[in-house]
Amino acid sequence: MSGGSYYVPASSKWPALASLAMGAMMAGTGTLLVHGIAGLPVMVVGLLAILAVMTLWFRDVIHESRSGLYDAQMDRSFRWGMGWFIFSEVMFFAAFFGTLFYVRTFALPWLDGEGAKGVAALLWPDFTASWPLMNPPDASIEGPHETFSPWHLPLVNTLILVTSSITLTVAHEGLKEGYRDTARHWLLGTVLLGLCFITIQGFEYYEAYSHYGITLQAGIYGATFFLLTGFHGLHVIIGTIILISILARVQRGHFSRDDHFGFEAAAWYWHFVDVVWIGLFTFVYVF
């Protein structure tokens, strides 16, 4: 708690425009899904508007921060805000991991006649539970032909993400020691590793659809696979965009040795995405 007067930011048009843009994007997406192509332009305009508004909103905040308007208390508010935001993301993924565990531990064995609710086997008497689930209970749903070996591309991706967390930490240490070039180079390395990850993941998706028969429609294995890796991949993409903007800010000398919360927030986010991947690699690919 600071002793002097408080800083209260001036009003801004970005939040209201952001709500409008989000509404437009969601209405457009809904229309696209339910009524067809007519929703597409609205969705695209909404999405672009969100990106534009975010850019402008962040630009204002960066400008205010650069003008020295923010005090230590504002800095703490940002820290609390980012920390709790990441916690909300943790819970978002927790729901998906919970789904995976529930299906593997309860739903499938019960459909196979095992356990407390094995009576569910009456639905499809011929069904045999397995994980990955190659043969979904009902014949109308075609399962995958083959699954990924965790020790090829997924392992490479694991090494890439873990390395990227290390390079990011090196960049952070560089910044803290006042070596801006070190920070810049290692941050650039982190961004490149992020891009590698996204590319490999994209290639894996291509393989999944074209050779392995792992699709969204391929029963619960495909569904959980794409749910978990898809939302994680989306977060890597967002994280990479954040890191690119932070790189641009490092380039312009926005950060000092002891004042660089923008950098730290991005790093928190990136490490969070990394930790989620460790969970994914363990429970989606290996076990």
Binding site: M1, G3, G4, Y6, Y7, V8, P9, S11, K13, W14, P15, A16, A18, S19, L20, M22, G23, M26, A27, G30, L33, V34, R66, G68, Y70, R76, S77, W80, W84, F85, F87, S88, M91, F92, A94, A95, G98, T99, Y102, V103, A107, L111, A116, K117, A120, P136, P137, D138, S140, I141, L216, Q217, G219, I220, G222, T224, L227, S256, D258, D259
Partner: protein, 543 residues
């Protein structure tokens, strides 16, 4: 801040401002733009409260349609399909549009005032949180005119009713819930940051008024479970539009999984709607009993215990779905445990009243009614917690009676108590006494006429969510419908009281209530647009 940056200028405001809700127009952008762009916690609080009241009436109209149809057995007014849309929309609007935004509105107004902060920690985010809501609910309400009609599967939207057999508008329902969820998460982050970071110097956590404490814990619950709701509706979206089989056993999924995920969100959600109510009542009762709150620390610990337990009881909503025996037992006992901290709270409220100098101003009337009527809802909850008994009660009107007792004379009465308590602070005027009393008594009579007979109808076996019923339930339903019309109509009186109070009335001093001690009573009534621009001098009370 960094050493190389220019020195920090003293915070500037567009206006040195005076006049809160009543006398607002001195702020820079005027008219509609003022409200669209505002980052002021009082203005945003007002927006939340007005939005919530609007939704309360829209949801209320849906309830009136339901009660009109159920006035007599047989189908009179609406088709069963439309009836289902009404029950669904009534629940969704009341939960996400009326009760939750009302508490967020009260938090916006009162948390900064009660902790001596100048505003919320992240004022622009605050504006964003609010303006997401009208967008979300416009989308939700628009489903009523879409082909195939609005969502018709109940506010709990169980799969496969909400996936395989759902109307096409369900996709829009999902997106509207996403928007409302984002709003809640961002609002909760803001409230936590405010409470943890902006307290007046010298105010420790255990010095905070209980409304602030309960909101701190509620905000934690919101951040923990709203993402789970986002996750489960995203899986619905994929099942509906992209052919996944999360909730479809044919592909290896499980419809029961939906219920687990939903109620993992849903049970903390019901505490999200009641913990701030506990806070309001814990602030009002000491004021009008002119005594310190009995057992302040135990109130805080009880609130925290309820919050933690709320993550461990979700499957008591699913006793009849086919759970393993061990799950039935675990969730039965864990649910019954919640009665302990809740009992502590009721005990503390009553003990605060004991030998107090009680007076019965309108906020106190609502707070006292809350204690009695919420406890009725608590007890019926205890009955429902008993798994073997729940097999009988499940999906009957007994359940409807239970959760309406905790939500209407519980959450809604607490909101109204809070509104009557703080209206003098917001407007500078006391609400009209006689009209407020009329509003209170009509509401109390209406609410009990509506919901008490539902217990009997439910125990006698009347199922919920049906437009028609067997003849033996006719009398109970007629009483319920009459009560509902009375309750609905008496809320118009509430609007009148509020409008009257905004426009004028008996002037209120800074300390509007004799026994009120928290920081908000140290600023003038009406509260100026900007308060506590420098941190106030806070003297901790002895609890």
């Amino acid at each position: 801040m960094a050493s190389h940056l220019p020195p920090k200028p003293i915070a500037q405001y567009e206006e040195t401002a005076s006049g809160g809700l009543a006398a607002g127009a001195q702020h820079a952008p005027r008219g509609l733009m003022r409200w669209l762009l505002t980052t002021n916690h009082k203005e945003i609080g007002t927006l939340y409260l007005i939005f919530s009241l609007t939704m309360f009436f829209i949801g209320g109209i849906f309830a009136m349609v339901i009660r009109a149809e159920l006035f007599q057995p047989g189908l009179q007014l609406v088709q069963p399909e439309f009836f289902n849309q009404m029950t669904t929309m009534h629940g969704l609007i009341m939960v996400f549009g009326a009760v939750m935004p009302a508490f967020v509105g009260l938090a916006n107004w009162m948390v900064p005032l009660q902790i001596g902060a100048p505003d919320m920690a992240l004022p622009r985010l605050n504006n964003f949180s609010f303006w997401l809501l009208p967008v979300a609910f416009l989308m939700l309400l628009s489903t009523l005119v879409m082909p195939g009609g609005a969502p018709n599967f109940g506010w709990t939207f169980y799969a496969p009713l909400s996936t395989t057999y759902a109307p096409p508008s369900t996709t829009f329902f999902i997106f509207s819930l996403h928007l409302a969820g984002i709003s809640s998460i961002l609002g909760a982050i803001n409230i936590i940051a405010t409470i943890l970071n902006l307290r007046a110097p010298g105010m420790r956590l255990m010095d905070m008024p209980l409304f602030v404490w309960t909101w701190l814990i509620t905000a934690f619950l919101l951040i923990a479970v709203m993402p789970v709701l986002a996750g489960v509706i995203t899986m619905m979206l994929l099942d509906i539009n992209f052919g996944t089989s999360f909730f479809n056993a044919a592909g290896g999924g499980d419809p029961v999984l939906f219920q687990h995920l939903f109620w993992f969100f849903g049970h903390p959600e019901v505490y999200i709607m009641i913990l701030p109510a506990f806070g309001i009542v814990s602030v009002i009762i000491p004021t009008f009993a002119r005594k310190r709150l009995f057992g302040y620390a135990s109130m805080v610990y009880a609130t925290a215990s309820i919050a933690i337990l709320s993550f461990l009881v979700w499957a008591h909503h699913m006793f009849v779905v086919g759970l393993p025996l061990v799950a039935e037992l675990f969730f039965m006992y864990s649910t019954m445990l919640i009665a302990v901290p809740t009992g502590v709270k009721v005990f503390n409220w009553i003990t605060t009243l004991f030998r107090g100098s009680i007076s019965f101003e309108p906020p106190m009337l609502f707070a006292l009614a809350f204690v009695v009527l919420f406890t009725i809802g608590g007890f019926s909850g205890l009955m429902l917690a008993i798994s073997p008994a729940d097999f009988q009660y499940h999906d009957t009107y007994f359940v409807v009676a239970h959760f309406h007792y905790v939500l209407v004379p519980g959450a809604v009465f607490a909101i109204m108590a809070g509104v009557y308590y703080w209206l003098p602070k917001w407007t500078g005027h006391y609400p009209h006494l006689r009209l407020s009393q009329w509003h209170f008594w009509l509401s109390v009579i209406g609410v009990n006429l509506t919901f008490f007979p539902m217990h009997f109808a439910g125990l006698a076996g009347m199922p919920r969510r049906i437009p028609d019923y067997a003849l033996q339930f006719a009398d109970f339903n007629m009483v319920t419908s009459l009560g509902a019309f009375l309750f609905g109509a008496s809320q118009l009186l509430f609007v009148w009281v509020v409008i009257k109070c905004v426009r004028g009335g008996e002037k209120a001093p800074a300390r509007a209530w004799e026994g009120a001690e928290d920081l908000e009573w140290s600023v003038p009534s009406p509260a100026p647009l900007h308060t506590f621009e420098t941190p106030p001098d806070f003297q901790p009370q002895q609890h």
